[in-house]
Symmetry: C2
Subunit: 465 residues, 2 copies
């Protein structure tokens, strides 16, 4: 299980060994969420709920099934999805009059209802989100959390009075993302996709991309400005202050269980998972190191330590299994618990606790007296350093070039004039996709790598995991 | 909107007026969870999670789709469901080799995997649950939360070494239920269903039934003992201490969004919802009663009150809308907020707050100084009295008879010898279903209402909502 040698194999192995998922379900790409994997997903969902609730988004839940005629209203959208949806054609023993599809995403489920909810400017902005499973008939090779056919999915959908208010929403989404990504210790880039790679029906799409140690990119989610592209076919109109009827401008923000995959892929190592403290089901595990004749004393001290940490709000587990400490170390390293607290006879005598960090392996003695503060500080430090290391690695794995010859397996940054024909040629020559132009206006001064025209806009190229 | 006059109409109207659901989705029986309805459902889900986590059940999440061949393994089960499942027959533009169905319940999704998870006696008991949506092609008239085609669903699934351990689980389920029902202020009866009415594949089924003011029964959920009925066809075996391979005994416990319907139907009145304090999104709402020239002072006092209640953990809302207090009273009564706190100039002068209970309409002045305790005590009192009133109503609406002539619209209790033929005749003659025999061994001494044979077992008859 060597991450550096065969990243893809390492990933497949680790999600099973750490028991995050069970891939033996009899439908390809539809996996079972085991208790451990589901807890991690729920932690991530709860972070998302917290930030979207705090910004006055309302959680809703729309039906799974969408009638074919509703789905077909936005032409580019159906064209983008119709080769990958699952169709319900029968109920009981009878064929249905109107075929129903399993949502691949919920625009076409929500927008006929939004047309009823939005009446006047007082109803705007309408800010909603839902966390549901979506379905895509993925024909490429599936991979746990990364490319599956039943996808645990977050999607926010908003309606605004005009383009500028929708743009404000996109910027709010960027702010929300920056808070969330910190909790997950994930570095990312906001990249505006090319026109031929944007979401079907979108005015523009911003991809949220991180980089894996293998040099491949992984899209964590995307944020879309729809303008009036959906509100026109779905007739979502409001009466403005002057009594005029206008179409709303819409945005969406989508993320998925792929975040679990990203956390595994970016942070994990040859010993197993390395979970960010905010994501970890158990932030710390206490391993009593029992010595002959002192068993009772050490056990009691371990239980006291547990009670004190628990009551201070730290998610802590006390491992009292009757196995050697080494077995426990192995298990909790595999599971990615950020901090191991060892407590033995000598620790107790010195009024200390031994701290072992999962991310670095660093071992240190801390005062038992200040243990709550020490644990909290250490968890905060771990989170900061995990993000810093991943960011550094992302930078190191990004290469700016002025020629497409002999590209290494890294994220590639180069110049593009913006012409579609040059874009396609860049993709062909580099055998990579353009994942986009940076949203935050990176400084760049170079030439289009195909036509040589001077340009101030860099593009990023990558192979997807 | 008169509950006593036309209960069915009252129910349909109130779920829409209180904005718990939007029934305008273009598929019959598949409704939209609005923000307010979804919050109530989430509160109920969180109660369920809390109790099942506390009893060492593990939350999992299994795929939605089930291959036809897995579904067909338990004969009684497929016979019970095959007229009401939705079939996925195509993916993208192609027909599927094996048809997939949308889970109507998850036995046939989970049990092939349980066969892999359970190996030895050390793996038992296996206690799991999930909260997912299920799908049934309901052909009867649909009704929000009560009878729908996409059902928000809770299901626990457990595996045990033997029948007795599975029986212990059933009793634990009864205990869990009694805690939950108290939070929802719902009285109920545990009734063992007849053999011809049990869950398809079950050894026995215990229905959890409440009674509505209309005299009709509403099933809140059910608990099943499967014995080896599923473990044999799905091959869920373990090696016991002696090295012998034995089939597990299984149980399940199911509840659904119908709980939201029950809370609405049992507690609501002509003014709207009456939410139990544990279920209510807002447990208390503060309405400042502004007087001319004193606006600022009252507003500030209201905000102070809000801060104090909020920080003590009470879910409180401050209604600062620029509308008359009467409009606010109307709105929050419709929404079912348990406690209204009015704060005006005179209250402030006397250092008081006016409390108005939603359930009784009782109005009283309480000391501002002790407001946190007063609110908490009042909420506890409301919960107790809501349950007591509903229990009293259930008792009053239950009638013991020794003849099936001229039955009123109530829950009927009578004698049954236990013979299936007499049972069917009882159902025909009474034009009601036998909902079952009491699990808790009610005292009864009478005769079978059909054959006259003496019996110690009462049965309950009811029409379902």
């Amino acid at each position: 299980m060597k991450k550096a040698e065969d990243f893809s194999e390492w990933y497949n192995e680790i999600v099973e060994k750490a028991n995050l998922t069970d891939k033996r379900y009899p439908i390809k790409g539809m996996n079972v969420w085991t208790p451990y994997g589901w807890k991690i997903m729920q932690a991530i969902d709860s972070h998302i709920r917290q930030e979207f609730d705090a910004t006055n988004h309302q959680e809703v839940c729309f039906p799974l099934l969408i009638p074919e005629d509703q789905f077909a209203k936005e032409k580019a959208h159906i064209k983008g999805f119709d080769s990958e949806v699952f169709w319900v054609t029968h109920a009981g023993l009878n064929p249905l009059d109107v075929k129903l599809l399993l949502r691949p995403t919920s625009e076409t489920a929500m927008y006929p209802i939004f047309a009823l909810w939005v009446r006047s400017h007082a109803d705007l902005p309408l800010k909603t989100y839902q966390i549901v499973n979506t379905f895509r008939y993925e024909t490429k090779q599936t991979r746990a959390f990364i490319r599956v056919r039943e996808i645990h999915f977050f999607e926010s959908h908003t309606c605004h009075a005009d383009f500028e208010d929708a743009e404000k929403q996109v910027r709010e989404d960027f702010d929300i993302l920056s808070i969330l990504a910190k909790k997950w210790c994930l570095p990312y880039k906001l990249l505006k996709r090319t026109d031929w790679d944007k979401f079907p029906g979108a005015h523009y799409t911003v991809g949220i991309d991180t980089l894996l140690p293998s040099g491949r990119s992984l899209q964590l989610g995307s944020i879309h400005q729809y303008m009036e592209n959906f509100s026109r076919p779905y007739d979502i109109k409001y009466e403005d202050e002057k009594g005029e009827h206008r179409y709303v401008h819409q945005t969406t923000f989508g993320m998925s269980e792929r975040l679990v995959g990203a956390v595994v892929a970016v942070h994990g190592d040859d010993k197993g998972l390395v979970l960010p403290p905010d994501v970890a089901t158990n932030q710390a595990v206490i391993v009593p190191v029992l010595a002959k004749g002192e068993t009772e004393k050490v056990s009691k001290a371990a239980r006291d330590l547990y009670d004190e940490l628990k009551s201070s709000g730290i998610r802590v587990h006390l491992d009292e299994r009757d196995v050697r400490p080494g077995v426990k170390y192995y298990d909790w390293e595999l599971k990615g618990v950020p901090l191991r607290l060892e407590l033995g006879k000598r620790d107790i005598e010195k009024d200390k606790v031994t701290f072992v960090r999962r991310d670095t392996g660093d071992k240190s003695l801390r005062d038992r007296k200040h243990v709550v503060k020490e644990v909290k500080d250490t968890l905060a430090l771990i989170a900061n350093e995990m993000l810093a290391r991943a960011s550094k690695e992302m930078t190191a794995n990004t290469l700016t070039v002025d020629s497409l010859a002999n590209l290494p397996e890294k994220m590639i940054r180069t110049g593009w004039c913006g012409e579609e024909s040059c874009g396609h040629e860049i993709e062909t020559k580099s055998d990579r996709n353009i994942i986009g132009t940076p949203v935050d206006g990176e400084h760049f001064s170079g030439n289009c790598v195909v036509c040589g025209k001077p340009t101030k806009t860099p593009i990023y190229l990558a192979r997807a995991m």
